[in-house]
Symmetry: C2
Subunit: 139 residues, 2 copies
DNA sequence: GATACATACTTGCGAAATGCAAGTACGAAT
DNA sequence: ATTCGTACTTGCATTTCGCAAGTATGTATC
């Protein structure tokens, strides 16, 4: 985190930033929520090239913050998965809002990705479909 | 910024993060958009206690990114103002989405602030009222 | 009109976080 | 038995941050 961590803040924005307000955390959350990634190796493979120590640290802090859950396989570390909690699923509106803004102002956005099209034409449908990836989590 | 700056990215989220994805930038944007702050001294007075060098650097990078405009008074630096561009005003949905999430999960949110109440009961009205602070900017 | 004050910064430095490369631990595949 | 894949950890140079102090310039006060 950039900002000195506060035990508590009365501002909902600062509260949010203290948890996932560094860029790498949001990239991980994008991968989890939008691209349905769950394995360490999948996060590593992202275009943004996060380094292993940062990835490890961020996953851990997101778990501590109750955003992700670490599910370890029995007798095989390669089965370890990171899955979102409801607290993470509630970030869909945030992620979508950021995507809308980025889409408007980033001339290099790759519109050939189906999700980008769908975000503008059928956001609710997109959200519903993505949420169905996490049916086991939904309350 | 935490993340190595990219000249261009095809991801709208990473584009956004490269511009305002550090916590301090978002605190400044909160102050501009929600609390209608415009002067250096006002940003410094925020509860989060940003230090002067960071504030100076962030204001400059937000100006470079086309998010804020620096308006200098003639013959008096104390009149210097930082005002949002349309690109900043388009961040209202992002800021509101973050506030909604923070409100849900931050037990310490100060609900005595009128804006917090209004966000849940009348978001559109709140947005409209806040936007009216920037009538001169709106296209 | 000299002095104090306010504002908007810049500078210096120790502490922390980052980025990169390499190493480790362990199960699976050959 | 050896190699490979995966999930990390460790070490270190570089960058960024946080804090304190200093600077520049205009305004207010005596």
């Amino acid at each position: 985190m950039l900002m000195k961590k506060r035990a508590s803040t009365v501002c909902p924005i600062v509260y949010a930033l203290d948890i996932w307000g560094d860029p790498w955390s949001l990239v991980i959350l994008r991968d989890v929520l939008i691209h349905n990634k769950r394995h360490y190796r999948e996060f590593l493979a992202s275009r943004e090239q996060i380094s292993t120590n940062i990835l490890s640290a961020r996953l851990q802090s997101l778990v501590e913050a109750g955003i992700l859950v670490k599910i370890e396989g029995e007798s095989n570390r390669a089965q370890t998965m990171y899955r979102p909690t409801q607290k993470a699923l509630d970030l869909f509106p945030v992620v979508f809002a950021i995507m809308h803004w980025g889409l408007k102002y980033n001339p290099n956005t790759d519109m050939s990705i189906p999700i980008m099209q769908e975000l503008t034409t059928n956001e609710k449908g997109l959200e519903h479909r993505l949420l169905s990836n996490f049916d086991d989590i939904q309350s």
